[in-house]
Subunit: 346 residues, 4 copies
């Protein structure tokens, strides 16, 4: 059994990891670290675990965690990860970090978009961007994974095959994403107050959201030149799920079938990618509860544009599920281990 | 024109008062007092007022407010009202207080249920409980109104006719109420965080909610003896509206028509009471956006019990609308002035 | 492996069974019968199964189903079950019926509340009411299970210990239940139209809902005398979950701890019952996604009443999960097989 | 008083017209025509009118309606309007049609996008497109108004100033719109079933929605050349409101202030247009309940693109409110008569 610990276990991404790892057949949860709820059973914070899993949360003890864990998942605020993770990394542990701190190749881009300096830029050389469908070979070779952001996962999986195929004009890419509220975390605020979010939708951080830089970095790697995109996140009155509607100009006339072939070749053996046939489009209902990414598209002959729709569960493929998928890779397990459940639709 | 000022104008009850008084044909809004947003236009806090009403919020200045206002609405936290209101009252102003501080006849009951001592119990002798359908004659005679709580409004309007008629056994009264989140106000908290409220329902403060005592006081006045009830509030994943489902044993066999007659006699000329005919029941959709209270019921012969359902908009008949109705009474206007709009249903 | 087939697989209860049985380690799904979607893959009706489970739905063929299945789950409309199930029963199959047709001991009560005659009242002698926590010994002995209604499950699990202990006055029992919309099924109607349900709550079928009779039958068996209750269902603007708030007068003064002991003794080794400690109450968030029933309560000394709150997922413990639990019993498996997942909370 | 009748009064757009016209100071509602609910009081169909406005619905009687009405609002299905409206038009009545039948200049475009032939293309020469902010002079001169679609209203008000100023490249316009469910009407269907819409978002009719042609027609008139756009509608789990996020490439570098000036000049005296200052963006909460259109934008220097966000209430500025605004113009009233209420935010 793989001994796993979670730092930040009582945040929303953290508790989703607990939920997923609890049912993983090869994992034993060793430490649930939570500064806010230390010494309390996880089931008193999240009563869905009552009678099922009632482990007590603990304070952060680097030495003990390192000694008793084979892998550590860190779901800490941006800027905390880059202090704690180096200590664990230096003890030889495998680490999957859900913050933005180890997702970047370039410390300059990180520091520009995150507005703070990075404590350990040297580790960016050993860390891998943890989007297995795009970067599996790099993930296998390291033991420090920067688990992707939720929005970038939804955008990159939709765009990578077309960028790799040089089928679209990169400077026309527009990503209009709509997310559930769990992506914004557990901390109460006016912007996340029920009476403010209910029956509403709003755009936020237009042209300035940090995830823009993460999307651009990965598309640039695939395109082998700089890519600049427009990215607009929106907050939906739902808990879970991201739907991204993505626009780009085609470089030449392509039929639906041509484009479908590009996708199906690129993702020929990917267990977590589902392509929708012509006339069908992804919805967040299709993926909530699973690690799947659904992708559908329309080729608009009138405008010679492709409109792609992708859907993921922000807490699973956009956070905890992808982290488990990365763990499976690091330990040589089948990538779907513990992640085979269908979503819940209802 | 009646010059009106609002203390606590940027809370949810406060802003509903602004919305209602803005369209009231006999009222001019003079001061919108908000400690949190002083010197900011109300339309920057609530952008639905942009281009419509952009008055700047001000700090509390008792002298100025008293001088420039004919009536003051106070929507302050419990415990603040009883400090500020006496100052305004002593300047001869008409006052409608939306807190619990002036709803009680007995200071002992107030202090027991609110857990704090009352600064000016002497004023409880001059204040009137502002539920016009039950207490209009007392309201007319005073100029300090304790505007009722939202839950008590929904429960008392449903129960008063039957208690007055001695048709039900008072010790069997059970009030199961379901409320939207605006009743809990504007302050963010875990319990009101979107991701926690969405797709959920919960009961809270069972048998201990303060509004229990307010319901019991008024039913006791009608019954002319002490009445003890069970009251359970629930939090719904909606913004507005209270639905109360109320149970009581009938003292004797009564048909639907018998009971309907009791209600229609009691509320014979009330503009804000709507009785549902047999087979029809109130829903919060029926009242959201209006000052109406809808009442429907079922006589269950099997159990000799009556089940009453009442619906109000917690921010209107349960707060701001009722306050406007009280103002209309205090100034000798038709009670429906400014309150004639139908709700919005959709 | 147990070979299982589902009749009515594309209804909401049916598809929940598919979801649960797909991950059950001892079950192979053989036939998904759907008249509406015959010859279509289940994943085109419910795209959450795309890339996971794409079995084609079939038409009803009694002989083939009987030959190739060890157990049949029927999720058919009331009144269809009592035609189809006898044919399968006579072929010696194990059957779990999710309709109301085989839940009753008395055909008279069934016919009175369901308003139609029963095609095979003789089978009511061999069928068992499938609420394992109350009726496990009877379930084990038969092979025709009337799987309980969702509301009765939530009410009976909350009330059984107190009725068995003779701690409450049965004629004071009032059950105020609030349900998500999936309980009303997949068929579109005005009453379930999004624009009508959203931001609303309503009571319906007060004092006349069929589940009243099911609750009364089981409480009567426990009490060993007739029991009559008030039951009010409400429709919530959420998909899943039932919260029941239940009121009853205590026969004598009992402390919280006294009552807690009654519950914990009654449910001493039940894997799907969770009791909340004093000060904590169940919410539908706690159980959605799991087969758990959470129970909490308040003893109100002022009224000498107990107020009990129970929460279940209407599609799991209230339908498909309970059916799987019954199947586990019929095949001698551990009762929690395939049902160990925690709910999802978020 | 203006005598007004509504055809299709019990649909969602129809009932919103009833709500708005009921409070309009210059209007008397004469006939509420509803084939489905003829002879029933409107308040039994929409109980929010109980005790307020209980007029009985009637069947369609062209002669009587023409004789007793000064203006007729038609909220009929597409394809019914072009049969009924000519009859009323020929009797000299003023008519505001909420269907798509009289919005087009070119019958070819109408027939191509609506997939059916137009019964009276000759009337397209006398009808005016009823978007007052863009087309007031044409509206004044006619008495047959094609009231705009909800999506086109949100898109055109956001785009017209920039197209008129030649500030953007028309062939780069992308309109990503998100709508509440009332836009899809009152007719139940699987796609609008609560359990399907709740906690979901989906795109639909990508590149083929009829409103695309309406947007293109009006932008083409402003640009004086053909304009082709991408338009993607999405269905939100809310009742009301449309948020459109619109992308276009700027023709030259413009600052936020430059663009703001373009908008404020174009809309210098428009009572229903609100421009958001830098750093602020519209949300549907800001407009639900009012006839306002809020517009905000971000100039993205990195991509030299403008991202515009507009918000309207689909039932008011997107349907009934705009119809009232058109009526006010036709009768020489102040355009804001009956439309001064702020939205409700909560």
């Amino acid at each position: 059994m793989i001994r796993a610990s979670i730092l930040g276990a009582t945040g929303y991404a953290g508790i989703e990891l607990v939920r997923l790892l609890y049912v993983h057949p090869e994992v034993k949860l060793v430490h649930l670290v939570s500064q806010s709820f230390a010494d309390q059973p996880i089931s008193s914070v999240y009563p869905n675990f009552k009678g099922i899993f009632e482990k007590t949360c603990s304070r952060l003890d680097i030495d003990q965690i390192a000694e008793e864990s084979d892998i550590i998942f860190a779901s800490l605020p941006h800027g905390a990860s880059d202090k704690v993770i180096p200590l664990l990394y230096e003890k030889g542990k495998k680490i999957i970090d859900l913050s933005g701190d180890f997702r970047y190749k370039s410390v300059e881009i990180y520091e520009k978009w995150y507005g703070s300096s990075h404590a350990r830029p040297d580790l960016l050389k050993v860390s891998a961007y943890g989007l297995p469908e795009l970067n599996r070979q790099e993930i296998i070779k390291t033991r420090l994974i920067g688990n992707p952001g939720c929005y970038p996962t939804s955008a990159l999986l939709a765009l990578a095959p077309l960028v790799a195929d040089d089928a679209i004009q990169p400077d026309t890419i527009i990503i209009d994403s709509k997310s559930g509220t769990t992506g914004a975390g557990r901390e109460p605020s006016s912007a996340l107050h029920f009476s403010e979010v209910d029956e509403n939708i709003k755009a936020y951080k237009i042209a300035t959201h940090r995830h823009t830089s993460e999307i651009e970095q990965q598309l640039g790697i695939i395109a082998r030149h700089d890519v600049t995109v427009s990215f607009t996140p929106h907050l939906l009155p739902v808990k879970r799920g991201i739907l991204s509607t993505i626009y780009a100009n085609l470089k030449k006339h392509l039929s639906f079938r041509d484009v479908f072939d590009i996708y199906s070749n690129y993702y020929s053996s990917e267990p977590f990618i589902v392509l929708h046939e012509e006339g069908s489009l992804p919805e967040i209902k299709h993926v909530n509860g699973s690690n799947m990414c659904h992708i559908g598209f329309v080729v608009d002959k009138r405008t010679n544009r492709i409109i792609i729709v992708s859907a993921i569960d922000n807490l699973i493929k956009g956070a905890g599920g992808q982290a488990v998928q990365n763990m499976n890779i690091l330990f040589g397990l089948d990538e779907t281990t513990g992640l085979k459940n269908p979503g819940w639709y209802l």
